[in-house]
């Protein structure tokens, strides 16, 4: 007889066994409903999956550990946020110019976290396999956490500084914020496999380290303990997200050879979309961290040329190559941040953050980090603008820019082979001419013109009268931009006045 011995302790299951129990056999096979109707989105992109169980999360994360460690992360983060607020941490940052990076972060990045939450909740419902479904469900919760913790953290700065008061409204309306918004809406309106290639692989695995890693280290270096803490707290989930990205790519490539060209096309497209979006990050890193850690160029070399190079080397065994136009990104690394900042400087009157011309000390640093471009091309421009400013003739660009139909960035980038010529491409489709910033964006349009001809381009919308009126002040009101406080240069802004006030109070304490 086989009676269980009550004194024998059950052996603890291994990690592999626990993960297997969670992801195998808990699902059921439908009997009275057609499976195609339950999972209507997994076929139409042309990706063929023969065995969903072949997908495995290499961290083998289970529900119990997930909740346990996520709760721990939240406790740590909120302890820091509370003490930052209690100790007036906002007074201890390196310089108030830095806050402008947070203004971009809360309006351009945090809304993407929320959009990612929605996207992963959607694919977490619609994948047929339990392994990827659970990984996406974890991630959907993570991304909601990221949006919430960022809003909580930055709300403290909103008590003191301008431009932080209405991020979600601005995300949906402000001209330059259509760049991140259209990026994510492009991804979310694709099928589930393209969505994961776009967000988990191309964006999170290949590109976001550039945003969250050196930039957050920079936040720490500039005295912003609260931001580095939410940044690293979010990024600690990112290792898992990145791994989902890499695993889903390998899974598609292993399941069917016919998947390879489809995946390659998506990698090409989403590398370029993501890279263009990072032009904003390039500018934040180089221009908006008063104390600097590494240049955009160095970060690009470290994270894309070396890190990405190793990744694509590994994927070459499946027949995957480096994304198309990676060499254009390489050529642009000497110019990217400078061209982006110069553009925002000219449109400072219409932006919800402040700009400035770089100091002599910063320009010396740029010249050292960008020996092939800065003194030749960008220093003369800043010198000219600084002089105009000193003469009371601060330069503003009052024209509305030509936007790229795909990335929605004004076509200010230069030719990869000639940094003195603006790069534009055009294409006539159904009798209408469309404009692009690059071959990369042109090719994306050409592949799916019916998608991109629907782009909500802020400049076109303003000219059509859909943005609150026909004058700049009317449009800025429609953006909920607090005119005279949120926009224009840092010098002369209420932010500057407040900061200088804090600094002089500190000097009085030291002197007495």
């Amino acid at each position: 007889m086989n009676t269980p011995n009550p004194n024998e302790r059950l052996r603890k299951l291994s990690l592999k066994e626990r993960y297997a129990h969670l992801t195998r056999g808990l699902d059921w096979q439908p009997t009275y409903q057609d499976k195609k109707k339950i999972f209507p989105f997994t076929d139409y992109e042309g990706i063929k999956i023969h065995d969903w169980d072949a997908f495995e999360d290499p961290f083998r994360l289970t529900m119990d550990s997930y909740w346990k460690y996520q709760a721990e992360k939240e406790r740590k983060l909120y302890a820091v946020i509370d003490s930052f607020a209690q100790n007036n941490g906002q007074m201890n940052i390196s310089d108030a110019r830095y806050i402008n990076a947070l203004k971009i972060f809360i309006t351009a990045v945090s809304p993407l976290e929320y959009a990612a939450h929605r996207g992963f909740a959607h694919v977490g419902r619609h994948f047929e396999g339990v392994g990827p479904r659970i990984a996406c469900q974890f991630q959907a919760i993570d991304e909601l956490r990221h949006a919430q913790t960022q809003i909580h953290t930055i709300s403290h700065f909103n008590k003191f500084f301008d431009g932080l008061h209405d991020p979600l409204h601005m995300y949906n309306r402000v001209w330059y914020l259509s760049v991140p918004k259209s990026f994510f809406e492009d991804a979310i309106t694709a099928g589930p496999f393209e969505f994961l290639t776009a967000v988990s692989f191309s964006f999170e695995y290949v590109l976001t380290s550039l945003l969250f890693v050196p930039f957050m280290s920079g936040a720490a270096y500039n005295g912003d303990m609260a931001t580095v803490t939410f940044g690293f707290s979010a990024q600690s989930d990112e290792s898992r997200h990145m791994t989902l990205g890499l695993e889903i790519i390998k899974f598609m490539l292993q399941q069917d050879e016919g998947n390879v060209p489809i995946v390659q096309k998506w990698i090409d497209k989403w590398f370029w979309r993501g890279y263009r979006l990072l032009s904003i990050i390039a500018m934040m890193m180089d221009y908006m961290l008063p104390k600097k850690i590494m240049s955009w160029k160095e970060a690009w070399e470290m994270y894309f040329e070396q890190g990405g190079g190793a990744l694509f080397n590994d994927l070459s065994r499946y027949g995957i190559r480096l994304p198309k136009y990676h060499e254009v990104a390489k050529a642009e690394k000497d110019h990217y941040s400078h061209q982006a900042w110069s553009t925002f400087y000219q449109y400072s009157h219409a932006s919800a953050f402040h700009t400035w011309t770089p100091s002599e000390e910063e320009m010396t640093w740029f010249a050292e980090k960008y020996p092939a471009s800065f003194n030749q091309l960008y220093r003369p421009r800043y010198d000219y603008w600084a002089k105009a400013e000193a003469d009371g003739k601060r330069f503003y660009n009052n024209g509305l820019p030509q936007l790229c139909q795909v990335c929605q960035i004004p076509t200010f980038f230069t030719e990869p082979t000639d940094p003195t010529r603006i790069s534009t491409r055009t294409k006539i489709y159904n009798g209408e001419r469309f404009y692009f910033c690059s071959d990369g964006c042109h090719d994306i349009f050409e592949d799916e013109p019916e998608k991109y001809l629907q782009s909500w381009l802020p400049v076109h919308q303003i000219l059509q009268g859909n943005c609150g009126g026909t004058t700049v002040p009317e449009v800025l009101d429609w953006y909920h931009l607090n005119q005279g406080a949120d926009n224009f240069d840092y010098l002369g802004s209420p932010d500057e006045a407040l900061w200088e006030n804090w600094q002089s109070a500190r000097k009085r304490v030291i002197a007495s």
């Binding site: 380290s209 050196p214 720490a220 580095v228 990024q235 990112e238 190793a310 990744l311 080397n313 590994d314």
Partner: protein, 90 residues
């Protein structure tokens, strides 16, 4: 060309112990320190052993706890009860 795998950890108390364990177990590891974080690169493969981390921290350590300290990784992952491996398959 040998490709590096890479892990970035927060400069916290646990983080310091984990970095020490990685250095001890991976003689080829190259460590770069930045404000608030440490990046470790290693040719082809990097191992994180539970027992080495426990020795450094002086307490029991569940490898899933790495979740609290990791900032970024590069490489294929494989985790079981005793070790976490990062590798490129070339």
């Amino acid at each position: 060309m040998t490709s590096n795998v890479s892990i970035t950890l927060q400069n916290t108390d646990d983080g310091r112990g984990i970095v020490a364990a990685i250095i001890a177990d991976n003689p080829e590891a190259v460590v770069s320190t930045y404000p608030a974080m440490t990046k470790i690169d290693c040719p082809s493969r990097l191992i994180m052993n539970k027992t080495s981390i426990e020795q450094q921290l002086g307490r029991e350590f569940d490898l899933h706890e790495l979740n609290l300290t990791m900032v970024s990784i590069s490489g294929n992952v494989d985790e079981d009860d005793d070790r976490l491996l990062l590798m490129w398959n070339v």
